[in-house]
Symmetry: C2
Subunit: 327 residues, 2 copies
């Protein structure tokens, strides 16, 4: 692959070049990693999009919401890319984006680009390649990059850490017991969208929305928020209700953050965060790519789990053995 040619094609909006480049950044082969790094360096960092993270468990209507939301944006002349982060290796239930046909209209829209989530996944790698795929979409001139994740494990946190706005899509809940939102994630979300505010479910959706609004209200104010955020709003993807209003709210929040300087500060903070994550991950990868180190790591972890040794002692053993101070 010629890096310069590919970069030009991507910047000129060639969708196949973009798709191939995303495949490249998804690869774990050393040769592909090097090419991906060269391509990203060639593309630079000057074009940027509004990065929206969207988390929701299977069944809340994510694909319907994304289709409606995306179509609304493209109708306004905006170009929209949709990426998926799915930490599960199986496709059953979780990876809605694995099936483009569920977003039939949007997938055929020339101003939209939908990328299903890759199959084999490890979280560290997922975060990296998702950030790189975002960078590729930005270089390709998309105005909005929507990153979708199922609300499982650390993927939500990772997506929140790479988003300008982070949204949580929820279904109406029957009783308060059923509203299973992880507490940690409420800390990071900017807006809760309660979907299915339509038909028989509408009253439930409104109650659920009020419940979440008061739960959010109970929590500590964040300096990065205007007074009325984070907020909970009810939407119906099916009937296309409330989505334009939700978009207005997103834009208001974005404007507020940009005007207050929080937008840039947040992106800088995120870049620093990912740099340190990459250094940590890279060091560990170097360490564990050595099979002798890996064997010792496993043996020591086992000793620690059995209480034979303390975590600090075991770590010191490993490090002094394989990575002495005087290199």
């Amino acid at each position: 692959m010629d890096i310069k040619t590919t970069a030009d094609k991507i910047q000129n909006g060639d969708r196949r070049a973009l798709a191939r480049a995303i495949t490249l950044v998804e690869s774990t082969r050393a040769q592909d990693r090097a090419a991906a790094a060269a391509l990203l360096a060639e593309l630079g960092t000057h074009r940027q999009a509004l990065r929206i993270g969207l988390s929701g468990t299977p069944g809340v209507g994510k694909s319907t919401f994304i289709e409606r939301f995306g179509m609304m944006l493209t109708a306004q002349g905006l170009r929209v890319a949709v990426l998926a982060v799915d930490p599960s290796s199986t496709r059953s239930g979780g990876s809605i984006l694995g099936d483009k046909t569920r977003m039939d209209l949007l997938s055929r829209d020339p101003n939209a680009f939908i990328r299903p989530s890759p199959s084999q996944t490890q979280l560290g790698g997922v975060a990296r390649r998702t950030r790189e795929a975002i960078a590729l979409c930005e270089a390709a001139g998309f105005d909005i990059v929507l990153v979708e994740t199922v609300g499982v494990g650390q993927s939500e946190t990772a997506v929140a850490e790479m988003s300008d706005l982070f949204l949580l899509l929820l279904a109406p809940a029957g009783g308060d017991e059923l509203q299973g939102v992880k507490r940690g994630i409420m800390e990071t979300c900017d807006m809760i969208l309660v979907n299915k505010a339509d038909g028989d479910l509408k009253p439930q959706a409104m109650r659920t929305c009020a419940d979440y609004a008061s739960a959010l209200h109970l929590m500590r104010k964040r300096p990065q928020d205007p007074p009325d955020f984070p907020k909970a709003v009810a939407v119906s993807a099916l009937e296309d209700h409330g989505i334009a209003a939700a978009w207005d709210e997103m834009q208001a929040l974005a404007t507020w953050r940009k005007d207050s300087g929080i937008w840039d500060a947040r992106r800088t903070e995120q870049a620093r965060f990912w740099f340190h994550e990459e250094v940590r991950a890279g060091l560990l990868a170097q360490l564990t790519s050595d099979s002798a180190v890996q064997a010792q790591l496993n043996a020591l972890e086992n000793d620690v789990a059995l209480g034979k040794t303390r975590p600090g002692q075991a770590a010191e053993t490993l490090i002094t053995q394989f990575f002495p101070r005087n290199r």
Copy 2:
């Protein structure tokens, strides 16, 4: 210092030996680190205590609560150690344990041991030396080790990760706006104690308690909890109300977790967690103890913050420069 003699003294309940050993684990000097490691290895891991984490912002009455709670436990024949994790370098307001005189009775109780928090602090090191101080107190035969932290930054999470039971002490709040609990921390706490349920504040405390009970109820059930946990209870440290009941709840939760095998699984998980943290921290420490590496790390972080390079690219530059794959 003779390791064997010190270990014997600690195991025989010599409080001065224990205090000196804690000073040793708090030291960052290489020679002291080696002695601390040898001492911990000599002491082994067979004696263990109930580890209770307690978080609460300044002003909620932590010292009064700890004094009452500690005195109640020692009256039952239990030996109680109190440690502090305070990530702030200043003592103003935060570090209640910096002032033993606020726990006058408990500090003079022969069955209690109170250790103020050390002054200079970095979080990684704080977690490590607190875990080592816990181990020393356990070796000294304490039945309960209470680890106190102010609810700031990552210290709460670190304390939660080294506790068998994690409690949040809160003050009554006037309106729902004022109840500033970080959302993330509700995810990890086992019990919320609303203090100052006495005098004029009692009605407010009861309302605050009910608010938190319903907020906890709204959240997702955790597999490590019996059906009625996490729960919120009202206490008055001043009037010594509700503390015995809270202790009954803690014991009920402990028994439930022990019977269900969750207790051991949790400790094993925590040991694994800290092992990997120690490996990560140790690797980074090795890397950054080299001034050339540190300079390059700072330069690259700056480039990343300015958007001149991407996090992954910068990390790769650093790692290939200083830690090539083929050692």
